[in-house]
């Protein structure tokens, strides 16, 4: 799994050096490039409405700015400085997001404009070695009017994507579809590919017709939250078709891209991280995990963006750790636990059979010699006699205190276990003395 930072909110394409420097210093090795920086949804909505004798148009010409929607071949020029800086600093561009229309667009006449834009975006990706491009379905409203209408939405999208497939093949780029919402008179509701079975059918049919795996899926967590969806079910149905995940938080009502865990109400997150982690874990997700936090970035002062990025990287690392927790357990030939409480109990419930520990230990000497959830509870001193290559997993929230204790004892291979996002839970918690 690769953790990627979205360029939006951090990198100014016209003056990219500082943003790229901040991203690199935070520990990111790769970004996703939002091509709507060169052609926003607002520009697309206004397409054709700027007249050439308009003062604004003359201003743009004077400053050599040409709307990319009118000049799609200039996509690469727009990002010249950003590309040069990325290349010189060895920052990869792993995913690109093609420009898109707004959720409540009134434009139904831009199919060929968008096609040219997407074509050039794909070519641009090919030139820079970017393997994936997210292209939203062209007509994002869901079933409207009649079954015939849905079928025409489906067919027109298929035709569109298959035309783009040829360009994608030439440029060795995979096109990712994305779950959509659309605006029903201001209320964001489920759109195209927000039904997981529909999304599977679209991806599989397109790949079938393309004769190769040219299409995949990008799961937008924010859209799932807006549509109140069970991300576990959604993810598991799509399985390995998911190549990228956009990690962003929002309040479920307004479309925003916030740092995960920051949209909170009554002490609880408003995004269902539990279901998301369960789902990605279950499918063994190892694709591109894109941190999309443009709105959080936007409200922080540029002076605070560097430490924000460092923290954001830590959050993304936490998600990766949670999703890949079994990889960590699998790493060791032997496992012992530290802690004989609820976390140990939860470990045994979910992982005890597959990754059986040799024993557990606890600082509470009253528990020594007892059986706890099928494990003998031993003194921490026993950790000095564990086999080589044995992992010691701390099952207690006072991680650093216990880690310090174990390091002082000379214990090696210390790991943290965590039960916040388990595959299943008990209905109760033990009352520990």
């Amino acid at each position: 799994m690769k953790i990627i930072c979205s360029s939006s909110g951090f990198i100014n394409p016209v003056r990219p050096r500082q943003g790229i420097s901040d991203i690199l210093k935070a520990g990111f090795g790769s970004i996703s490039l939002d091509l709507d920086a060169c052609c926003s949804s607002l520009e697309l909505e206004q397409y054709g409405k700027l007249r050439k004798d308009n003062e604004e148009w003359r201003y743009m010409e004077n400053y050599e700015y040409l709307p990319i929607s009118e000049h799609p071949t200039k996509v690469g020029c727009f990002f010249e400085r950003l590309l040069a800086e990325c290349q010189s600093r060895n920052l990869q561009i792993s995913v690109a997001h093609a420009p898109y229309l707004s959720r409540d667009t009134k434009r139904t006449d831009l199919s060929e404009v968008l096609f040219d834009l997407y074509k050039e975006s794909i070519r641009f990706c090919g030139q820079i070695g970017c393997k994936y491009i997210v292209i939203r379905p062209f007509c994002t409203s869901s079933v409207k009017g009649s079954a015939a209408s849905y079928e025409s939405v489906r067919m027109s999208n298929f035709e569109y994507y298959l035309r783009l497939a040829a360009v994608a093949r030439e440029n060795q780029v995979m096109i990712l579809l994305e779950n959509q919402c659309h605006s029903l008179n201001g209320h964001l509701v489920r759109g195209v590919c927000s039904d997981s079975f529909e999304a599977v059918e679209w991806v599989d049919t397109l790949n079938d017709r393309a004769g190769e795996e040219r299409f995949g899926f990008c799961l937008d967590v924010g859209v799932c939250t807006l549509c109140g969806q069970d991300m576990h079910e959604f993810t598991v149905t799509l399985g390995k078709r998911i190549k990228a995940v956009i990690l962003r938080d929002c309040d479920g009502q307004h479309e925003s891209s916030l740092l995960p865990f920051t949209s909170v109400c009554m002490g609880q997150p408003q995004t269902d991280w539990l279901c998301m982690i369960r789902g990605l874990r279950e499918i063994g997700f190892d694709g591109q995990l894109i941190l999309g936090i443009r709105d959080t970035a936007g409200v922080f002062s540029p002076l605070l963006r560097p430490p924000l990025l460092v923290f954001a990287k830590a959050v993304a690392d936490y998600f990766k750790w949670q999703i890949e927790i079994e990889n960590l357990l699998r790493k060791y030939s032997f496992i012992v636990l530290f802690g004989a409480g609820n976390m140990c109990r939860n470990y045994m419930k979910c992982y005890g059979e597959k990754y059986p520990p040799l024993f557990t230990c606890d600082n509470n000497r009253k528990m020594w010699g007892e059986n706890f959830c099928g494990l003998e509870v031993k003194s921490p001193e026993e950790l000095k006699r564990i086999p080589d290559g044995c992992g010691v997993f701390i099952c207690n929230i006072y991680y650093h205190e216990i880690e310090e204790q174990l390091r002082d004892m000379g214990v090696k291979n210390i790991e943290f276990f965590n039960d916040e996002y388990m595959p299943s839970f008990y209905f109760d918690r033990l009352k520990m003395v």
Binding site: Y150, R190, Q229
Partner: protein, 313 residues
């Protein structure tokens, strides 16, 4: 032929039930959704509290509801559907509580339904996916519960209807049991095949669907003849407000932010011929008491609007 109904809560009272049914009739309704769940509230159950209502014997319960049955009949109101008390399972509840809900409340509710000669009873699926780890595991438990009711349902000629409901996290509403229409359709078919009878159906709740952005037309179309009853109400997409359809807007254009056109198209497509039942009890407490009959009449007129536009004949 499509009929128009409304829930009995806040209209029909135990003291003189016939009065409430007569109000319904005057307002233009021909059928009722009997709020059996009012006799054991969800708020009590989530506090692990039981009242003694369902401790009564079958005969006592029939005697209790005899005036309601007679009152409905005298007023010309058909009890078309009813709502079993919910939840049917309390996570973290004691075994005694959950056994009582399963073994006492549920079967007695079925018997009350049969006593009223009511063909449909709505139940809520168990909310267990977060504990058990998946929606599939959750459905397995709900299905066990439905299996316990199915023989009674078959014998009594009742169709148990599962309803799309929701969960909440951080004040934000997410889809809960029975929100995946393809799974619901497959499970209903499999269940009915097992019992060789139409013992399981679906209750589509517009308000719950609106909260999680479900496409009404697609959902209803996919359900087809499995759709037996409706809970019709509106909300702002944030809270489960149970308000009158067409109430909410979100933009300057002030057009409805709930997809009522999709609702109508879906019902027309499947040639729905059941009841359009409004689950709008909170509206009656929002408006002044003295306006109750006018409000009910207005709700009934919205029902007539739906009928005219759904009508596929």
């Amino acid at each position: 032929m499509i009929s128009i109904g409304v829930q009995t809560k806040n209209v029909v009272y135990d003291a003189v039930p016939q009065t409430g049914f007569e109000i319904m009739k005057r307002a233009g309704f021909s059928c009722a959704d009997f709020s059996l769940n009012s006799y054991l509230l969800n708020t009590s159950l989530y506090r692990f509290e039981l009242n003694g209502f369902f401790d009564q014997s079958e005969a006592e319960l029939e005697a209790f509801f005899q005036p309601h049955k007679k009152g409905a009949k005298n007023a010309g109101i058909e009890i078309h559907q009813m709502h079993m008390p919910y939840p049917n399972y309390v996570p973290n509840g004691k075994k005694e509580l959950n056994d009582y809900l399963w073994n006492v409340v549920a079967p007695k509710s079925m018997k009350i339904c049969a006593f009223f000669e009511c063909p449909y009873i709505v139940v809520h699926g168990f909310k267990l996916s977060r504990n058990l780890g998946s929606e599939e595991a959750e459905w397995m438990q709900t299905e066990k519960f439905l299996d316990s009711l199915a023989p009674m349902a078959k014998e009594m000629g009742i169709t148990v209807c599962v309803e799309n409901i929701y969960n909440g996290i951080g004040g934000h509403i997410m889809e809960g049991p029975c929100c995946n229409v393809r799974k619901a359709a497959e499970r209903i078919d499999r269940f009915n095949e097992k019992y060789h009878a139409e013992v399981l159906g679906f209750c589509f709740d517009t308000g719950h669907a609106n909260l999680v952005g479900i496409d009404f037309e697609q959902f209803i179309t996919e359900l087809g003849r499995r759709l037996k009853v409706l809970h019709i109400h509106d909300n702002d997409g944030v809270g489960d407000l149970h308000q009158i359809p067409f109430t909410f807007t979100r933009t300057r254009e002030n057009t409805a932010s709930t997809d009522w056109e999709g609702f109508i198209r879906g019902l027309r497509k499947i040639k729905y011929d059941g009841a359009l039942s409004f689950e709008t009890a909170p509206v009656l407490t929002a408006f002044p008491e003295e306006m109750k009959e006018q409000v009910l009449e207005f709700i009934g007129q919205i029902g007539e609007y739906f009928v005219r536009n759904i009508c596929w004949v």
